[in-house]
């Protein structure tokens, strides 16, 4: 599945998007938005430590319980403050 990154999430990862493997290689594949947070947090602890990080699935705001599939487009949207 594709994960699009905005704001500081892009800076933390160092790329505007990420591809999450959907086949097993020993690791557990994230099946919900909440599991995706934990999954990404293992590689990028700073993502998990953000006080607020909105996650959208197919352009709709999603709760942590929302199920995700390999064909979903995910967006990580942190707050931005500049003005």
């Amino acid at each position: 599945m594709t994960v699009l990154l905005f704001g500081v999430a892009k800076d933390i990862v160092g790329s505007p998007s990420l591809s999450i493997p959907t086949t097993t290689n020993g690791k557990r594949i994230p099946r919900t938005v909440g599991e995706l947070r934990t999954f990404l947090g293992k590689s990028y602890p700073e993502l998990e430590q953000l006080s607020s990080l909105a996650i959208a699935v197919n352009n709709a705001y999603a709760q942590d319980t929302k199920e995700i599939n390999s064909y979903d487009e995910i967006a990580l949207i942190p707050p931005v403050s500049g003005g």
Partner: protein, 360 residues
């Protein structure tokens, strides 16, 4: 200068018309922040005939404001933003009633000021004031037009519009200090606030005139790099609509937990030691463009799998482009080997003087 023809170009626009104009003339709008976002908002709302404008800011004009705050000139440096703006806006449209507040918004003054207006524009540059505007508008049941930016990206939405979602429905809790970079650290391309502020002005006009489709229940994400816009559908969290009092303070407390860092000066000293263990956690393409010659490249996503190749008996230094990924690397390494000496190079490659990139 009153003339029936003044607004003819918009009153003759069928989707706006004379009734749209009449509503604008009745409207009272408070613009909080007269910087990069607030300037275009104020200029367009004033030009288009909004009846009453409140301008709030306690800052003075500085030379480094001029690349994006295009209402101000070199002669205005050192003067208060609100009084200079009020003077220029009065010359642009003498019919507008303009009230200035040479102050910042605080929990002590927020409700008293905001209650006098129909619509608030959040044109601020800090999280504390953004959460204060949100909460005060929810308490008083006022809609507000949100706009914010970072780098090439901007966000726009109309929050608390009728039964619509609020800022806290998207971002429930304010970030802690240093979690999110600000414009002073990250820089800002002059035209970006012009675009985002103009989009805010457009939403303000739609709300006030009751014409067009208001950007409520959605968050607009604008990427000026790729020229892509997308809208995220939002949800209302009912508890966020039931704020009845403000918090005593909206200041963001300084953070306590910091990863160990070394600054550029310290790093330049350390780099004289040929045994220095330096790991560059950027991706291979970035590393190929320019790197400190003694650095080993382990891209951050592969770090977890390659920790065993690092010698934790001696200090480990992580570097990346800006210092964000190297801080992540420090946390990963600390989890793996608690107590090990691991450091992030503050500011990353961007902060290093050019020669170091080839001479170490």
């Amino acid at each position: 200068m009153e003339s029936a023809s003044r607004y003819i170009r918009q009153t003759s626009f069928p989707d706006f018309g004379p009734e749209g104009q009449a509503r604008l003339q009745q409207a009272k709008v408070l613009i909080v922040g007269l910087g990069g976002l607030g300037v275009p908002v104020a200029q367009y709302l004033n030009a288009m005939g909004v009846g009453t404008l409140g301008l709030m800011d306690n800052d003075t004009i500085a030379l480094h404001n001029l690349q994006r705050q295009v209402l101000y000139t070199e002669n205005d440096i050192g003067k208060p933003k609100v009084s200079v703006a009020a003077q220029k806006l009065a010359a642009q449209n003498s019919n507008t009633r303009i009230t200035t507040y040479a102050n910042y918004l605080y929990p002590e003054n927020a409700l008293e000021i905001i209650k006098q207006y129909d619509l608030i524009v959040d044109a601020t540059d800090n999280f504390g004031t953004r959460y204060l505007i949100n909460d005060a508008c929810v308490v008083l049941k006022k809609p507000f037009v949100y706009g914010a930016l970072q780098g090439f990206e901007g966000q726009v939405a109309v929050f608390n519009y009728d039964d619509g979602p609020t800022y806290r429905c998207v971002f429930p809790d304010p970030p802690k200090a240093r979690e999110i970079p600000n414009c002073n650290e990250n820089g800002i391309l002059g035209v970006l606030p012009g675009i985002i502020g103009t989009l805010q002005a457009l939403e303000a006009v739609k709300v006030l005139s009751a014409k067009g489709q208001v950007l409520s229940g959605e968050l607009l994400l604008f990427d000026g790099n790729t020229q892509q816009s997308r809208k995220i559908e939002l949800e209302v969290n009912p508890k966020n609509k039931h704020i009845t009092t403000l918090q005593p303070s909206y200041e963001i407390p300084a953070c306590e937990i910091e990863v160990p860092v070394v600054n550029v000066t310290e790093f330049l000293q350390l780099s004289k030691d040929p045994r220095l263990q330096l790991i560059d956690v950027r991706n291979a393409e970035e590393f190929a463009v320019h790197a400190v010659p003694s650095a080993i490249n382990i891209p951050l996503p592969q770090l977890v799998d390659k920790l065993s190749s690092i010698d934790f008996e001696v200090p480990v230094y992580f570097i990346c482009q800006s210092g964000a990924r190297s801080r992540s690397a420090v946390r990963i390494a600390q989890d793996f080997k608690p107590g090990a000496q691991v450091y992030s190079i503050e500011g990353g490659m961007t902060a290093l003087p050019d020669p170091i990139k080839i001479s170490v």
